[in-house]
Amino acid sequence: MPDVTINGQKLQVEPGTTILQAAESLGLAIPTFCYIKRLPPLASCRMCLVEIEGQRRLQPACATAVADGMVVRTESELIAETRSSMLDMLLANHPLDCPICDKGGECELQDMVMAYGPRESRFRDAKRVFHSKDIRLSPVIIMNVNRCVQCQRCVRVCEDVVGAVALGTVDKGMDTAVTGFEGSLASCDQCGNCVEVCPVGALMSFPYRYKSRPWDLVETDTVCPHCGTGCQLTVGTRKGEFKRIRSKWDAGLNGELLCARGRFGLDFVEAKDRVKRPMIRRDGELAPVSWDEAGAHLRRCLDAVRGKPSGGVASPRLPNEVLYQFQKLMRTAFRTNSMDCSSRWSTPVDALRPLLGEFLTRAPLDDLTRSDRVLVVGGNVTEENPVTDYLLRDAVRQGRTGLLMLSARPSRLEADARAVLRVEPGGEASGLAAVAAALVAEAAAGDAGRLAAELAAAARVSVLVSADVLRPPTAETTLRHLGHLLRRLAALDKGPAFQFLFDRANQLGAWDLGVLPDVLPGLGAVRDDAVRNRFAEAWHAPIPAESGHGLDGMLDLCAGGRMGAFYVVQSDILAAYPDRDLAARALGSAELLIVQDTFLSETAALAEIVLPAAGYGEEAGTFTNGEGRAQALGKFREPAFEARDNLAIFDFVAAQGDHPWRPQRTDEVRDEIARMVMAYDGLAGKPPAADGAFTSSDPVPEGAAELPALPPAELPRGGLLLVTGNGLFHNGYLSERSSILNTIAPDPYVELSAADAERLGFAEGDRLLVRSAAGEVAVALKINRRFPDGLVFIPENYRDLRLNSLLRRGEYPCPVEVIRAPVRSPVAPSV
């Protein structure tokens, strides 16, 4: 290990350490512009030049590796002069429009000039002006070329991390300008990471433009609600009004990175379709009433359904504390274990629970991406968990790991993969089975064989599985095959680490805390007396001993007219359940449909009683992301109108019955969780710190036995098969209420392979009808050159499209035909 002396201090560093890193470890600051931690050094800004004994010239600290015996000085008259000179040159052509620059007050150039700059510049010639007007590169990104300092951070992040390769650099020398193809970023990912990494006010967020001065913002650290990656971010509000999002850089798994949804999609908090007051059904219509009136009505209704089965669904986007109280309320007040935490599937608990207990790895994704190979299964990580995609790409490009992918839906990340196994839509189970078989076969051919060979050659393997595999009716089989593969990897000493990639922010929390029909918080079985008694004692109420129903079962009960109270919290079943007809019938037939929601969802519109609930940002709590990291949610505004905290509403509902129920605040619930659920004991006493608190895996007692190889699921073959999921810019419910995301991606689309499109005679943008046995929808065509033939994809996140009207329970992937939509008669030209 090389020894180095910096400013007289000696230290030893790992080979390859740069002077900048070594200095940082000594707490010595060296100014930089072009350097950012995540990227290989560019060494172009020349701010970080330092003296190395024996070298004629100053050397860039960011790019110079420490050599043994090196003697470095980071402060000297020459260095100070050089820094000042670099800044003077940068300032020469830099417009001094700080007072109207969005970056003013948090600009690295400003800060640097204050710290190291010339006191006054001698530059007296005319400044260069590229464009007097800022250039609107995309709906959310605007560029002031004059302010650019050419650090290339934006271009490098866009290409090497985001993988969009949308930004580039045109022209050369003084005319160099960062821009998109032909001056547009209209078709990029709109992640805004370029804006985030820009040290000056060159790339700017259009929605935030001229909205505030940084010092006028109240900033609240919190966690993104849009997917299970669980990025940390900072919300800026002014007088309670939402203004912007920025990254936190030094906390969370994401650092400076966010995706379009996280960076631009949080304005949904201002959406207009709030439930403002409680509502009850009068003469078939929902009528706003006071909380008291709603309470009286609820009491009457609950009396009327007494003795009938009840059940509930809570959204996996709710905080842990809310979810925990919800299941407690269902189990103690409603005396049922019937509950679920998805509006899209019945959670296959039996197959899931052993996987979670045996293999789920609660550790930073960064650890997982340091194993030799990462296998990503199912879904489309690029679109569903964009920041996970960025982090994976980064890990691959920096040589930390090799990527293997297995899915029906192709993704951009595959360009960086060492092996790709494309499976039939819904065919993940057979894919996993083929890989598991190839892993022990003598010689295996084909993509599965190649993928298995890569796994076999690795010392350590991580497996990331999209929660998308839970969609098809074959989910249970898929999970069992997954378990089988993981066990085989374990047997081969690959120490497989395993995590899910969730499209809902707190899916793991919802599972952990037992919003499931047959397990209690901590995933202990309801039927297990010891487990059940422990909770019954703590809650001072009996808990039904028999398992309840999951989502499918509850909807069957509803549809059969046998369900009494059906309690839905922030879940839009009608919009999301993959059988719209069934969902509509069921919700319409529940005797008492109680909907607690922030927004007036389609489901809420069918309710007997609607209770206005605090939305995201209006109550504190924690989310558990896919890594198993519990992170604190910040509260940045008060519940709007007459909405109440979700916890307070549970208290309110409980109070209408005659059950033992102790009202609790968020922190009390959190402490109870920490007490009752071993995995969450790190949450005791305080909200998780800046980097979150990792939950631990409670060992689940059963299921460790080697499963027999299972027959792969039957697949519908031939023809066009529709799968659905999340698109890049939306993941339903919340994002569809973001007006910014809606300007980026206003219209639903259908993706087809180029060959299918050509065979059917369609061109990009054509309006098509996608028709199934159950219904049809009209959408515009997007040709996806990566798509295999036969695959049809429509994002599920456009409420008005009613995509689920195509689907029937148990029939997924869904066979469809695609035809040209009838031309609407053109408006007659005015004469």
Binding site: V165, L167, G168, V170, D171, K172, G180, F181, E182
Partner: protein, 170 residues
């Protein structure tokens, strides 16, 4: 507009010389510019599609290198060297002369689309300074008389070519 089939073939032939198709962007742009005269966005897209590379990469190169033109240029691109050796041998006077004779300044094209005038950095032919490149050819040891003769010849050549196409059209 689908790319002329020989453009695709030529680009493919160029790409075969490199282990990485991105390397063929430059040759492809030279080919495309020869066929299209200049490189508008649509041509850049075609080049990107043929090579299967990112569009922005193609755009970057089309703007970085001075021999690529994203805007149309005249039939004869007069590229007068004004670097030191040529300057020492009188290129400034030549520039002034062309500007007067053609009535255009640097970077401009004559109304008839015949001539575009540019000054360029050293052409690597200083032994015959002052030098001007027109199309593929270098014209060295220029003075006002030789310059006038050259312009006259180019005009005549263009006229003859125009006549020829007219005749062919009849």
């Amino acid at each position: 507009m689908s790319p002329p089939s020989d453009m695709r073939a030529e680009i493919e032939a160029a790409a075969a010389r490199y282990p990485d198709r991105r390397s063929a962007i430059m040759p492809a742009l030279l080919i495309a510019q020869r066929l299209h005269g200049h490189l508008p966005g649509q041509v850049l897209e075609e080049v990107a599609d043929i090579l299967g590379v990112e569009r922005i990469w193609v755009y970057e190169l089309a703007t970085f290198y001075t021999l690529f033109h994203t805007e149309p240029v005249g039939r004869y691109h007069l590229q007068l060297c004004d670097n030191v050796s040529c300057m020492l041998c009188g290129s400034e006077a030549l520039l002034a002369h062309i500007e007067t004779v053609l009535g255009i300044g640097k970077g401009e094209t004559t109304a008839d689309g015949l001539f575009t005038l540019s000054t360029v950095e050293c052409l690597g032919a200083c032994e015959m300074a002052p030098v001007m490149q027109v199309g593929d050819d270098y014209h060295g040891a220029l003075d006002i008389a030789r310059l006038d003769a050259l312009l006259t010849r180019l005009r005549a050549e263009a006229g003859a070519a125009a006549g020829a196409t007219e005749m062919a059209g009849e």
